[in-house]
């Protein structure tokens, strides 16, 4: 009788990559809810549209490569990419913006490299950066958070949100009320002291951007859930936040107009928490070892601060992540953990004889 012949181990822990991804999607929900409350239904429209596109494109690629699409769609990684990109886009973004963004994310950044697991760059961030560079106008039209301006109209509901993104669906085009994001304002200000700025602009809240504080806290919660579920280790996100805070602390000169802003401001504004817990943690494109992830996260933190404060772009999470993605393989090369029974971390370089 032919018995089944397989390699050991014969047991494995339940679960698969798809379940990991579904945890990530779950953890994104609080942030999405807060964003919807603040900016209206634009975020939801973005997410749904992006997910549809991502699944469609992934299925198409798999067809082209003669692979069974369902097997790949089931890992849900395209959905994570889509949701993360959608969350990073301004609500009420025109439909074609999402098409271009997802196209670059899924087709170029992910599937040209062979699909899930192979991409050296974070797909969602590639999509975002391409859009930011190509369509800065559309990409900087953020809706005003609800309640930031006293006599503001209510945020858009589902139907008007749909109409705002797909103008051809509706006879009366809808325009969302937009305004510069807090980081934008902060960057362009060069005359007011930080305190005055906080007082004078509607964009600012207690310590971060108005409303953005809540968005960040919600993403932080989601991140804490993933950490608890051991979807990732603490190394990368925490070192990124620490590095960012440290940089802010060093350059924070008690609020002059040239100040870069306080640590709290940087931690709770823009995409900081989303970045720390959902983007920096993308396992595929980050460094592999725990020590490596410490460096990786710290690099991102430092770069975020430098670009935010001295560069051209108001928020820098995407650029910083891509730059460190680029550096990750080298980091890996130099941060191999010490193997059992070896004396030092990179003994491999010494004990390799000439061959």
């Amino acid at each position: 009788m032919a018995l089944l012949h397989v390699t050991s181990p014969h047991m494995s822990r339940a679960g698969d990559t798809g379940s990991v991804m579904r945890h990530v999607l779950l953890a994104l929900i609080p942030g999405i809810v807060v964003m919807t409350a603040l900016f209206g239904w634009g975020t939801i429209v973005n997410i749904i549209w992006a997910c549809l596109l991502a699944l469609g494109m992934e299925a198409m690629v798999m067809r082209l490569r003669k692979r069974p699409p369902m097997f790949y769609l089931r890992d849900c990684s395209a959905l994570v990419t889509a949701v993360l990109l959608a969350v990073a886009l301004p609500p009420y973004a025109p439909w074609w913006l999402v098409v271009v963004g997802i196209g670059f994310s899924i087709l170029v950044a992910k599937h040209l490299y062979g699909g899930m697991g192979y991409n050296p760059f974070n797909p969602a961030m590639v999509g975002y950066v391409v859009l930011l560079i190509s369509f800065p106008v559309e990409m900087t039209q953020w809706a005003a958070p609800a309640g930031s301006i006293p006599d503001q109209a209510p945020t858009l509901g589902p139907l008007s949100a749909l109409a705002a993104s797909f103008p051809f669906l509706s006879s009366t085009p809808v325009d969302a009320f937009t305004m510069a994001t807090p980081l934008d304002v902060f960057k362009q200000n060069d005359s007011l002291m930080v305190d005055e700025l906080f007082a004078s602009s509607p964009q600012f809240g207690r310590f971060g951007g108005y409303g953005w504080e809540w968005v960040n806290i919600a993403f932080l919660l989601g991140g804490a859930y993933l950490l608890y579920k051991r979807i990732f280790t603490w190394h990368a996100p925490i070192s990124m936040l620490a590095a960012l805070a440290l940089m802010a602390l060093i350059f924070n000169d008690s609020g002059s107009s040239a100040s870069g802003g306080s640590p709290a401001f940087h931690l709770f504004t823009g995409a900081t928490m989303l970045g720390a817990f959902f983007i920096v943690t993308d396992p595929v494109s980050s460094a592999v070892s725990n020590i490596g992830r410490l460096y990786y996260g710290a690099g991102i933190g430092v770069l975020i601060y430098l670009i935010r404060s001295f560069g051209n772009y108001p928020d820098a999470v995407a650029f910083a992540v891509l730059l460190m993605n680029f550096a990750a393989p080298l980091i890996d090369h130099y941060t191999q953990p010490r193997t059992y029974g070896h004396k030092d971390h990179k003994s491999h370089n010494e004990d390799r004889g000439p061959k």
Binding site: P136, V137, Q188
Partner: protein, 218 residues
């Protein structure tokens, strides 16, 4: 034997040096004048766009004067201004101006001002604004920059000398206010500078103290 090889190679290389130099020198001689002329034309072209040929009869490139003004023009490194005159009478002056507060750093401008204090024209020489956003200040991308033509210190009134978003007269671009705001401010400052220094410049033009001959453009 070694010696002879060295000599032979040396002579050969020498011959090549001669030959190649000959080719280059011949081309150089043949094109020298035309190149100088081209360089001159290229430099003049920007100026002529602001003050066309029919408004003056002098060579503006030969009517340069050094400009050094931190306060209004933000020009510190001895750039040249140019004077257009007709029959010895100053018609207009073209000032180098820097707008220091563009979205991504400095924007270098040339601002032409007629003797009557109105703007003859403004052109952007160099900038690093975002493509697709701030770069509409280039004439190539949009004719926004032409909206300064004919304006002067009191047209519009000083408090309206800014972009519409700040309740001024000039358009901004969708999604980009900083760049036009910076340019507008710089142009206004240039007008102020001209008002202040008009006497001095006019004197220069009369005396013909300008110096432009030893500048060969390299």
């Amino acid at each position: 034997m070694i010696g002879s090889a060295v000599t032979r190679n040396g002579v050969l290389l020498g011959a090549f040096a001669m030959l190649t130099t000959a080719i280059i020198a011949a081309t150089q001689l043949g094109t020298k004048d035309r190149i100088a002329e081209q360089i001159r034309q290229a430099r003049e072209k920007a100026l002529l766009e602001i003050v066309p040929r029919d408004r003056h009869d002098n060579q503006m490139l030969d009517a340069q004067f050094a400009v050094n003004d931190q306060e209004l023009l933000h020009v510190t490194d001895d750039r040249s201004g140019f004077i257009a005159s007709d029959g010895g009478n100053m018609q207009a002056v073209i000032l180098p101006v820097i707008a220091p507060d563009g979205y991504s750093g400095k924007i270098e401008l040339l601002v032409g001002i007629n003797v009557d204090g109105s703007l003859a024209g403004v052109r952007v020489v160099q900038h690093a604004e975002t493509p697709g956003l701030g770069d509409k200040i280039e004439l190539k991308k949009s004719d926004w920059i032409l909206s300064f033509n004919g304006r002067s210190l009191n047209n519009p009134l000083p408090e309206r000398w800014t972009v519409k978003k700040d309740k001024g007269e000039f358009d901004q671009f969708t999604g980009a206010t900083i760049t036009p705001r910076a340019v507008t401010k710089a142009v206004y400052n240039a007008l102020l500078y001209f008002q202040k220094n008009r006497q001095k410049i006019e004197q220069l033009s009369v005396v013909g103290q300008t110096n432009g001959s030893d500048d060969n453009g390299e």
